[in-house]
Subunit: 191 residues, 2 copies
Amino acid sequence: MELQPLFDYISRYIALTPEEEEIIASKFKARKYLKGQYVVQNGDICRSESFVLSGCLKTFYIGDDGQEHIVMFAVENWWTADLGSFLSQTPADYNVQCLANCVLAQVGYEDLQQLYLQVPKLERFFRIIVQKAFVAAQKRVINNLSLTAKERYLKFREEYPELEQRVPQYMIASYLGITKEFLSKIRSTGS
Amino acid sequence: MELQPLFDYISRYIALTPEEEEIIASKFKARKYLKGQYVVQNGDICRSESFVLSGCLKTFYIGDDGQEHIVMFAVENWWTADLGSFLSQTPADYNVQCLANCVLAQVGYEDLQQLYLQVPKLERFFRIIVQKAFVAAQKRVINNLSLTAKERYLKFREEYPELEQRVPQYMIASYLGITKEFLSKIRSTGS
């Protein structure tokens, strides 16, 4: 069924009974988005967390200078949202936009709160995946402080080989905090 | 009792029964460290998560260039660890060192796994606090990409007023990814 990749992913971390799967399936909805559509818009409240069934998205922030800064990408088996907005149900700082046609499995805020009560082991699941995300975010801070632009680019390619193929170079440059001209120079000097 | 601040902190997020408090108290140990002592050392496995009962610590990373990069600080009511090392029980990338005499409430890896089974609502507690930490880490990435050094410093002062008083300026500079000379210039030009 459509949500199968979500259950395959959850089963990496916790074992669900068929009844629990059914409860979860009743709260998640698969939704299609077109390339270019926004899943979250800055200033709106982020109403749901999205698991990527297919497609590719970017989360970005527009600085005071009007420049776009890429917070993260998401492809199949990743989660995306403006998590700060979702958790506090306050207006989002970030935008989440589809870089290709996407199918997302989405759970709304109230539904997720109910799910935590009905299937408490989801607390464990989300605890584990957000711990991993936190460790990765902290590592990115440190990479930005301690590595050269070229080293950051090589690490990005090594860690996310699938993204390099699916995301335009100028967005990778924005994610790495460098200009697209500089990225293109790094790439042309060989690696 | 000595662990009371830990229970006060946990009770912000979940309600514990006296029996559950007792189980938790049996797994956490208060431990004293002297200023300058290391709680985690790069290359060692981080064996416990620490809640700060009193004191002040820094987590830092030594880059290939031999330079120290500050990952985070911790004061009363914060948690500290090399979380990546703790979760996977593999050698730490980071060092955690006391900037003053400290008293930490520590829980070992195996004890925490047992606690999750004995007091499952701790999954919820850790899920919530790490979600908040993730949101803050992501915001720091974006601040580093989109704000000027001066803006980052002003934001740091605003968000962590207590740290400014307790941490040497050169460490704040390292946390912000700027030289101490530059920070001192920012400070002297008024704010």
